[in-house]
Amino acid sequence: MTTLPLATNKKLGLVIDLDTCVGCHACVIACKEWNTGGYGNALSDQQPYGAEPEGSFLNRIHTFEIVPEGGEVIDQSADSRVVHFPKSCLHCEDAPCVTVCPTGASYKRAEDGIVLVDEDKCMGCGLCAWSCAYGAREMDISAGVMKKCTLCVDRIYNETIPEVDRIPSCVRTCPAGARHFGDLGDPQSDVSILVAERGGFDLMPEQGNKPTNKYLPPRERKPLSDAVNAGFETANADNVGDATGFFGWIDKTLSKGSSNSKVGEK
């Protein structure tokens, strides 16, 4: 059924911290490992050991460089910063991938908001992937059906595995703690509080998809050039004019009796 549920009480989803992600791709591999043997068809690879290996993945890490205005890239005191950017299905509230699906294979669960593909109905037309702005759906080349993040629906409710493992594989594996899982429909949940505290945001809000997953922005950081210059100042005796503490005492002592008032004073 590809009409969307009017509203879902629970909105299960991920919160991804762009400040802490180190870009190790561990979640990509953990996702592939779990999902190639789980829900639906395997995630196939083409020429895995050949000249042009490729395959289906449900989670991918892009890496961006952000250069602030006036920032230089090559200069040692570069202000640009690198942000690793994990991307998977955002389990959108207004999921266009669901409504375009002609077969009813794509659907959004009313009980928890998870967006899934029923591979027994999917005809592999690819229209849902066209409609997703985030590139969250990939057609499996060998199975000919659409693959996407299931939010590890076969882990999170799975009573045959230890309780600590009942979270998505990517969240379980992330060594940096950059991925969080929970109910974003509950304002009191840990993830909702995290989003509120850190100013979590939506990707491409102008596309009108109302994504459930949120991203936490990188934290404020002093420009690298400040830190570099500060280092030079303390190391450079010419520049200790307004030094205080230990360096101030040395400065004062060494300056005593000298005709110059203070080293470095202009």
């Binding site: 590809t2 762009l18 042009e52 290996p53 490729e54 395959g55 289906s56 993945f57 991918r60 890490i61 892009h62 890496t63 961006f64 460089e65 952000i66 250069v67 602030p68 205005e69 202000d79 640009s80 910063r81 690198v82 942000v83 991307k87 266009p96 669901v98 375009v100 002609p102 077969t103 009813g104 294979a105 027994d120 999917c122 005809m123 592999g124 037309c125 690819g126 229209l127 992937a129 066209w130 409609s131 997703c132 702005a133 985030y134 590139g135 990939e138 057609m139 080349i141 199975a143 000919g144 059906v145 939506d202 990707l203 491409m204 809000p205 102008e206 596309q207 991203y215 922005p217 990188p218």
Partner: protein, 312 residues
């Protein structure tokens, strides 16, 4: 977007077929004429081949039967349902025209409306996709519908010239339809400059407040489904050249030939020119449809540094 031949043939052939069937439904050819009979035959052929071609696009066609189930939300499903429904009046009219020399007026109207609704649904498969700003406009539907009628008119003109010794006012109608369709298409094409609409690398990553966002590393070294399907690149200078070819073959050649044919009604030259006009127009439409896909940018390219579709 990757210009898949299956979908290019699907949209152009069904477009012309439904256009022809609609004009016949309006009663533009006397049912006693051979051209009406052959017209129905040809329309059904074009529609059937086009629809079959669309199934070549599917990764898993054995589940295609489900595609008729989601007409409440999906334009692709609506298109499928309407295509099947439209077969009924077109086939009945084909039967009465071919075997009884009889046209049923009211059924002709029903048939023509259903034909246009089917073409509209085809156009909405593309026009409803927000991620592809170039398609996401009513001009997509306008040009699909107008090209459908124009294609049908060009074919009907040739049929009348071939079998009835003259096509009456049909060449005039065809020329007007061609011009109007290409005007809509020209406005559509002007939207190329709008790129991704409102989306940017800044909104895609949410990092614009920190500065200018650039891609440092792609998530994968080789191609994948996304980069092949949505990251299709066409050089700007090739796109411009192909656009000129599309206009030349799709509009200018057939329009000039039909104008001359109109002047020389009944002559062998007129017949020849009318037939050549059909082939020129179809070639022009195939190029136009190739560009429809190849020049369309998908928002996901923003996660690939916008260069995946850098039109150079």
């Amino acid at each position: 977007m990757h210009p898949a031949y299956s979908v290019i043939f699907f949209t152009t052939l069904t477009g012309a077929g439904y256009g022809l069937a609609a004009l016949l439904g309006f009663g533009l050819a006397d049912p006693a004429m051979l051209s009406a009979k052959l017209g129905y035959f040809l329309a059904l052929g074009l529609i059937t081949i086009g629809l079959l071609s669309s199934t070549l696009h599917l990764g898993n066609p054995k589940n295609a039967i489900w595609a008729f189930s989601q007409w409440r939300s999906s334009w692709l499903s609506r298109e499928g349902v309407l295509a099947i429904v439209t077969f009924v009046p077109v086939t009945v009219l084909a039967f009465t025209n071919i075997f009884m020399g009889l046209h049923i007026g009211w059924l002709g109207w029903v048939s023509a409306i259903l034909c246009m609704m089917t073409v509209y649904s085809t156009s909405m498969i593309y026009a409803s996709i927000r991620t592809i700003n170039l398609w996401n406009t009513w001009l997509t539907s306008a040009s699909y519908l107008l090209f459908s009628v124009a294609g049908g008119a060009v074919i009907l003109t040739a049929l009348l010239a071939l079998f009835e010794g003259g096509s009456g006012d049909m060449p005039k109608i065809a020329i007007i339809a061609l011009v109007v369709a290409w005007v809509a298409k020209w406005f559509w094409n002007k939207r190329q400059s709008e790129g991704y609409g409102g989306s940017t690398m800044a909104s895609a990553t949410g990092l614009g407040h920190l500065g200018k966002v650039k891609l440092l590393e792609r998530p994968h070294a080789m191609e994948n489904y996304l980069t092949r399907e949505m990251g299709f690149r066409v050089a700007r200078k090739h796109a411009a050249k192909l656009w000129n070819i599309a206009v030349l073959m799709g509009l200018l050649v057939p329009a000039v030939m039909l104008a001359i044919a109109f002047g020389l009604q009944g002559s062998t030259t007129a017949i020849l020119l009318s037939v050549v006009a059909v082939f020129a127009h179809m070639i022009g439409m195939l190029v136009e449809r190739w560009l429809f896909f190849a020049t369309a940018k998908h928002a996901v390219s923003l996660y690939y540094g916008d260069t995946a579709l850098d039109v150079r």
